[in-house]
């Protein structure tokens, strides 16, 4: 990036003054290291604690049912039958759909915004996308029920069923608007801002020299992006995807509203399903009076915890196996060779598996079409996609090595750029619709009295002030822990211990917010015997940590190593290097991470119900119960009064505005010291 190169020039002017004694400097360094290690360990400590509590509290269910919980298909707490399979299945399927839809679109949008779009377009668009992480999940859910599901039901489901119905995934359309597919789509929309924002920052951090080198060697723009930029940004993008997956797995309110909550376990995506967090959200409030029911739900939370653990472990192994610049390469050639072989085998196996599955599905569909409509069946969308694919393969094959090869590459380049633009347009379009709906619905009840009156007098001031107080407490806890933890991981966390901490941050990120709320309830509320703003803020703060840790780390790792070497070479200590050189250079990306974390927790309801509890009047006291906008939004949305339902939208409009203001202010304050302006 051109700006970044120019950023590095005035570095010398800002270098720290030499310290007086080396002993003091060393002491400062080791002190920072110790403190940052402790901060970084907070995730590990938290998941350990949460894991132990969940394991202990769910012992009754395991004692009664043992492993059969995992295979049981019936969930009937009235008759003491506990089976978790439909929920596990639903969680897997809905998050998989979400990833399949959101990852390509999100990454394409990120590439477009960072590589192709002019800055007057890219900045506002990325700002818009970041803003959308702040829409409360209950509003995503409402939008899903009222707008998305009916639209899908009228326009999409039948079409999918008609044209791809021979594939089991799209067979057996039941006419219900709430389906597994709807849940997957809602989740995809929710995680899109995460993937796009973090990937964009990561891609922007790839040194400009690498791009120039690739272009100088004659690569087209797309080839440069594919072979250079994406390769360099791979680890960071994977981190973003894992963060997004964590959110998709743990999401409750939005999914609960659109998935249909049925334990049928159909192969078809056009049928309703059920997920583990949805079950927790549905039944936790009323389960308290039955020991078995409570323990069964905590067992579900525990299974979810273990699954998040396993998924993160698998993702980590996958990264290790696919990354080309393996650490072993130089140190242990034998081991490196062994790893390479293993990697090749696995990569080949994965690729073949994918090809076989896709060909299987396509063949299934084509055979079905042929049987139902004979040769006219060959004009259906599936077949047309196959023709197009074969045609491009054919052209690639005949032009390779001929004079037309370059022309073909250029066509490819143009085509891909259009595709990237379309993806960005699609992402922004969906998000703009959402914003539009919130604005139009919300403005109806927007009135000054909303800000000046509390809930009892028909306003929302108790929620607005509550949200600010809660987010303030959460930031005071989450931002230092997250930032310093992230710094530790990027600067000191290269070894196995660093990996453990990284891993625990990812697991913590995937724990559903309901469970974090329960944890704080058990750890704080029950101990102090009253609900408080502190407890609510703590729950939100815990949720902020992993997002900030992981984004900070990914961004810091991408700051050029020469910066560190330059500073250290001039005699600065490691702490000063980090404080004065590395962190300022990565400020923009760090702020994005903090804003995403803030946006995520500002829209949370579930963890506050049993910690902050809610208050119908305005309060600033940190040790009394307090309300939040999201709690009001949730209650109003579920109220049987139509005016209240409308005010829920107004609440989310206010919430988005708050995030907008915080975001603008933080950008104003954090503009890099080395920026050209």
């Amino acid at each position: 990036m051109i700006e970044q190169n120019s950023k590095q020039n005035p570095v010398t002017q800002n270098l720290p003054k030499p310290l007086k004694t080396a002993g003091f400097a060393e002491f400062g360094d080791s002190l920072f290291r110790v403190i940052s290690t402790l901060f970084a360990m907070s995730s590990l400590f938290l998941i350990g604690w949460i894991g132990v509590i969940l394991y202990q509290q769910s012992a009754l269910t395991r004692h009664l049912f043992g492993w059969s919980i995992l295979t049981g298909r019936t969930w009937d707490t009235l008759h003491h039958v506990i089976g978790a399979l439909p929920f596990i299945y639903g969680t897997f399927v809905s998050s998989t759909i979400a990833l399949i839809l959101a990852v390509p679109i999100g990454i394409c949008a990120a590439i477009f915004l960072s590589e192709l779009a002019p800055s007057w377009l890219a900045s506002p668009l990325s700002f818009l996308i970041e803003l959308l992480a702040a829409i409360p999940s209950v509003i995503y859910g409402l939008w899903g029920v009222l707008f998305l599901c009916p639209w899908l039901n009228n326009n999409v489901y039948q079409w999918l069923n008609n044209n791809f119905g021979n594939i089991p995934l799209f067979s057996n359309y039941g006419g219900y608007p709430s389906t597994m597919l709807a849940a997957g789509i809602i989740l995809a929309i929710m995680i899109l801002p995460f993937i796009t924002s973090v990937s964009r920052e990561v891609i922007r951090s790839v040194p400009q020299a690498q791009r120039e080198a690739a272009l100088g060697l004659g690569a087209t723009r797309w080839e440069m992006i594919r072979n250079v930029v994406l390769k360099a940004a791979k680890s960071g993008i994977t981190g973003a995807v894992i963060l997004a997956l964590g959110r998709a797995i743990g999401e409750t309110m939005a999914v609960v509203m659109v998935i249909g909550n049925n334990t049928m376990m159909s192969a078809s995506l056009l049928q309703p399903g059920y997920t583990m967090p949805a079950l927790l959200a549905n039944e936790f409030n009323e389960a308290w009076t039955s020991k078995l029911h409570t323990s069964a739900l905590l067992e579900i939370a525990f299974i979810l915890f273990v699954i998040t653990f396993i998924i993160n472990a698998l993702a980590r192994i996958l990264i290790l196996l696919t990354s080309r610049n393996s650490n072993y390469a130089s140190a242990e050639p034998g081991k490196a060779a062994a790893m390479d072989t293993l990697r090749d085998i696995l990569a080949k196996f994965g690729r073949w598996l994918m090809i076989v599955v896709i060909i299987g599905f396509v063949a299934w569909q084509i055979v079905g079409d042929l049987r139902s409509e004979s040769f006219r069946g060959l004009l259906h969308p599936t077949e047309i996609i196959v023709y197009l694919y074969l045609a491009t393969r054919f052209v690639t094959r005949i032009t390779r090595g001929t004079v037309n090869w370059k022309r073909w590459r250029k066509i490819n380049n143009g085509f891909v750029q259009i595709l990237l633009g379309l993806c960005t347009f699609l992402a922004c379009f969906i998000l703009a619709i959402l914003l539009y709906v919130v604005a139009v619905q919300g403005i109806q009840y927007l009135h000054p009295s909303i800000f000046t009156h509390d809930e009892l007098d028909g306003g929302m001031s108790n929620g607005i002030i509550g949200t600010l107080v809660l987010v303030g407490i959460a930031s005071a806890i989450g931002i230092p822990l997250g930032l310093i933890g992230g710094i530790y991981l990027s600067e000191y966390g290269a070894g196995r211990f660093g990996n453990v901490l990284r891993f625990s941050a990812d697991v913590l990120n995937g724990i559903p917010s309901v469970v974090i709320g329960m944890f704080v309830y058990a750890a704080v509320v029950l101990k102090t015997n009253h609900f408080s703003a502190m407890a609510g803020g703590l729950a939100l703060g815990i949720m902020m940590i992993p997002t900030i840790v992981r984004t900070t780390e990914e961004i810091l790792r991408l700051t050029p190593y020469s910066l560190r070497e330059g500073s250290l070479g001039l005699g600065a200590t490691k702490f000063r290097t980090i404080r004065s050189i590395i962190v300022p250079a990565a400020k923009g990306g760090i702020v994005t991470g903090v804003m995403l974390a803030l946006a995520r927790v500002i829209g949370e309801t579930a963890p506050l119900l049993f910690t902050a509890f809610g208050n119908e009047m305005v309060t600033y006291k940190l040790n009394s119960q307090i309300s939040s906008l999201t709690m009001l939004i949730y209650r109003f949305a579920m109220d049987s009064d139509v005016t209240k339902n409308g005010m829920a939208w107004t609440g989310s409009l206010i919430l988005i505005t708050i995030v907008l203001v915080i975001s603008l202010l933080s950008r104003l304050f954090s503009r890099s010291r080395y920026s050209m302006h």
Partner: protein, 346 residues
Amino acid sequence: MTLRKLLMKGSIIVSAIALLVGMKNANAQALNVAGSTFVYPIMNKWIQRYHELHPGVSINYQAIGSGAGIAQYKSGTVDFGASDVPLTNKELATMPRPTLNILDVSGAIVLCYNVRGIGPGLHLSGPVIANIYLGKITKWNDPRIKKLNPYLNLPDEPIRVMHRSDASGTSYIFTSYLASVSKAWKDGPGVGKSPNWPVGIGAQGNPGVAGLIHHAQGSFGYIELAYALQNHMPAAVVENRSGNFIAASIQTTAFAVNSAVKKMEKDIRVSIVNGPGLNTYPICGFSYLIVPKFPTNVSHGRAMLDFLKWTMSDEAQRMAADLLYAPLPDSIRKINLRAIDSIKVR
């Protein structure tokens, strides 16, 4: 850059001062109440009015669900609770302090649908509703529905059954109705806030179910009376125990309440689903308050006592009727006041 630093420092100082001022300005301690979502609308109105009458007392009601309300009451984090299901004698015995059930409000549940060409007033009977929810009647033109509606042109479409996915008192009342009219339901899914539904899809809250019914052709689901009326949803007319087809309203719910007064003299914990009487609407239920007999906090206890008494006043009951909860008859109010008077605040 200096301006920015100045701004930053300024905002930090301002927010610190705001926080300090705020801490000093905190309001007097309020009563905390938690529980049922079913009574939230009327509770909210009552608390608001009561606060106008007695500015010194503020009550904070949080609708976190009946079960959670009972649990919070048990652990002592709230002054009293609200539950759609009264505490049984066994549960009362496990409470850390002597506890009373006090009847609160009653409400009705209606069956709504979205069928092409069919307006309000579809006739349904208990067994037919149970069979739809058991998955035994699957089409709108099933002979058993046709028999009840000989003049309607019912389409040959599947019935898309909807139910609440969140555990709720509404589901509890509805399933106790189903169990009272169908042995198959009683022996099968049973009565509960989140039973194992044999068919259909679940949606969150009344708005969720209403939204689905509005958008899906051929849908059928149960909703609280107030919500259905506000949203002008067509509701079924249901056959009661006397064989009459009754539409849900405050009056027909009040008949159900009145029919149970005799039994309630002995114990207010009665079920009024499928009650006797010519014009009784069959799907109704009560909501209860779970209150301590000997409140430990004297000032909170006094405030609670006064508030409870006030809810039995004519004004409070009229407010309930405005929100389509059936007002409690005098005889039941007397029973309640007797119970409230037995609360002793030292």
